[in-house]
Amino acid sequence: MSFLRKHITVLAGLLAYLVLYAIAAARYDGFLSLPVFINFLSNNAVLGIVAVGMTFVILSGGIDLSVGAVMSFSSVLIGVLIMDHQWNVFAAVGASLVCGTTLGAVMGAIIHKTGIKPFIVTLAGMFFVRGLAFIIHLESIAIAAPQHTSIAIMRVGPLPVTAVLFLTFVAVAWYVAVLTPFGRNVYALGGGEEAAMLMGLPVQRTRIAVYAVSGFCASFAGAALTFYLSSGSHLEGVGMELDAIATVVIGGTLLAGGVGSVFGTLVGVLMLGLILTSITTYEGMMSSGLTRVAIGALLLSFVMLQKLLTRRIAGAGRAT
């Protein structure tokens, strides 16, 4: 089957993104410039990293509602460790990664062992982790440590460190999804759990790993957040799970699992960023309500455009 047919939703998404970007560029001065685009990457890096982890979970046919909470928790934990306990930055990030991954793995294990639906387990996980985050520090915490700051302002070429982290995550995740047996097992698990089990695939290991990966990504996003905001924040994670799911799904991944790609998620993240930024900051609507209406309308038109393009290209593909 041709490349075109196989990656049709992602391509259609990309095309729709370009169309909307072009419209925005025509409408707002200075939109079409490299720094603005790089801003998109770095401003949405945190969500993006979370979404990469979420991609694996959704591909496996599950869902993870705890990501926002885990991300906040990890950022607050890093803040507390650095500011209150004078930890080294890397040690603090490492500790938060261990916590996040463990939390994910525990949720995965509960899902697998008890057969409770992922939705519930991770929803409970969200409450639990949020409570935990408040317990270790009630307020958001500012991080001002020279070592931390020096990382935060680091750039690779024109790219800020958060953008680099995001792109790295996408690349690594693509590799894992496409070229490793683990990645393929994730797809298989999402395509049919029972069949995967009957085919002799390591269902249990894969499932636990998927949630561990998601926890890892979420806690890494928490670290990225501390570099982006120089603070550990309770607030940023609220509602992030829905944003992450939305970006994954508008990137063409089926919520039912088994079909989708990491690049689709990249497109989805950029798309959501484009919509939010253009409406909330460039358009400068005077009413909060209308802002929301516009965001929703744009999101919907993107999805519809993507559908339309998919149908168009698919039709063309078959004719040739």
Partner: protein, 307 residues
């Protein structure tokens, strides 16, 4: 590029022929208080013919940072920021400083290591509000009361500070104690629900209610009313914000007092902007006038309430 309504001839900013352009990043529209603040700043900008770029962050810090970045890119003259949280502003404010754009914070402070990152903060002092409430309550109840506290959203700065100030002031009164304290998310519905729960468990011990905002107090009043408990008489209620509804409740004798936390910062903000642009020095913290209103003076002020 977006332009605001054309400038009426009126007051022109001293510095320029070119219209003053101000970027205002607002948190959102989650409460009447905030909507009043937005309205006040927008109205004042219109009155003075200022080109106001408004960005509603929908409660997200990332959006606010993006808004600030784009204000800097658009080279506005001044940035007004109502920060959604206290932390995480170093990087973007450094950019603003490098671009020589003064930043004026409104309604809540931020935590940064370098105080020069912002020009000034125009806000109420949440801790002070809590303190005022406690002192008034102590006076009213002769230093002896079982207090039930309705907190704002967990982890939110006003909630934390208003609790802190209140508790600090209570230290002086050994017979005043907070029996129960629960979050009611700053909303009326939650305020009612939590108050109902308090009534069911501790009915006769409830002597005073301290709510972190008026909405929750209004919800609590409703719960007390429905339980036949006579709010404002047998139960003393005090809250913070001073919205119109609170004054109506005071006139009706149901709420005892409210500490005003004035959202009508527009005039003060633009006065300050003018001072800054004229090169005058301004204090780092401009406290907006907070005042305590009681039932006695509520009736006179109620007609002047705008929100």
């Amino acid at each position: 590029q977006e332009t605001a309504t054309p400038a009426p001839g009126g007051a022109t900013p001293p510095a320029a022929q070119k219209k003053l352009s101000v970027g205002f990043s607002q948190v959102g529209a989650e409460s009447a208080w905030r909507t009043a603040e937005t309205k006040s700043i927008r109205g004042e900008a219109e009155k003075r013919g200022v080109d106001l770029k408004f960005a509603d962050a929908q409660g997200k810090q990332a959006s606010q940072i993006q808004a600030l970045t784009s204000f800097i890119a658009q080279k506005v003259d001044v940035i007004v920021l109502a920060p959604v949280v206290e932390t995480g502003w170093e990087v973007v404010l450094t950019q603003a400083k490098e671009a020589k754009i003064p930043v004026i914070l409104v309604d809540r402070g931020i935590k940064v290591s370098d105080e020069s990152l912002y020009t000034t903060l125009i806000a109420s002092d949440f801790v002070e509000e809590g303190r005022m409430a406690a002192e008034w309550l102590a006076k009213q109840t002769n230093g002896k009361a079982n207090i039930y506290e309705l907190q704002g959203s967990t982890g939110a700065a006003p909630a934390i500070d208003r609790k802190k100030g209140f508790e600090e002031a209570l230290q002086k009164f050994p017979d005043m104690k907070i029996v129960k304290s629960q979050s009611a998310d700053f909303t009326r519905a939650k305020g009612k629900e939590v108050m109902e729960a308090f009534i069911k468990s501790d009915r006769d011990q409830i002597q005073a209610v301290y709510a972190h905002n008026d909405d929750m107090a209004l919800g609590a009043i409703q719960a007390l009313d429905e339980a036949g408990m006579n709010p404002g008489k047998t139960v003393t209620l005090i809250s913070i914000d001073g919205v119109k509804g609170a004054f109506e409740a005071m006139v009706a004798g149901k709420l005892n007092a409210t500490v005003e936390c004035n959202p009508l910062l527009g005039p003060l903000v633009f006065d300050t902007i003018n001072k800054v642009r004229a090169g005058e020095s301004v204090p780092k913290f401009i406290k907006s006038q907070d005042q305590l209103f009681e039932q006695a003076n509520a009736a006179q002020v109620i007609s002047t309430r705008e929100y």
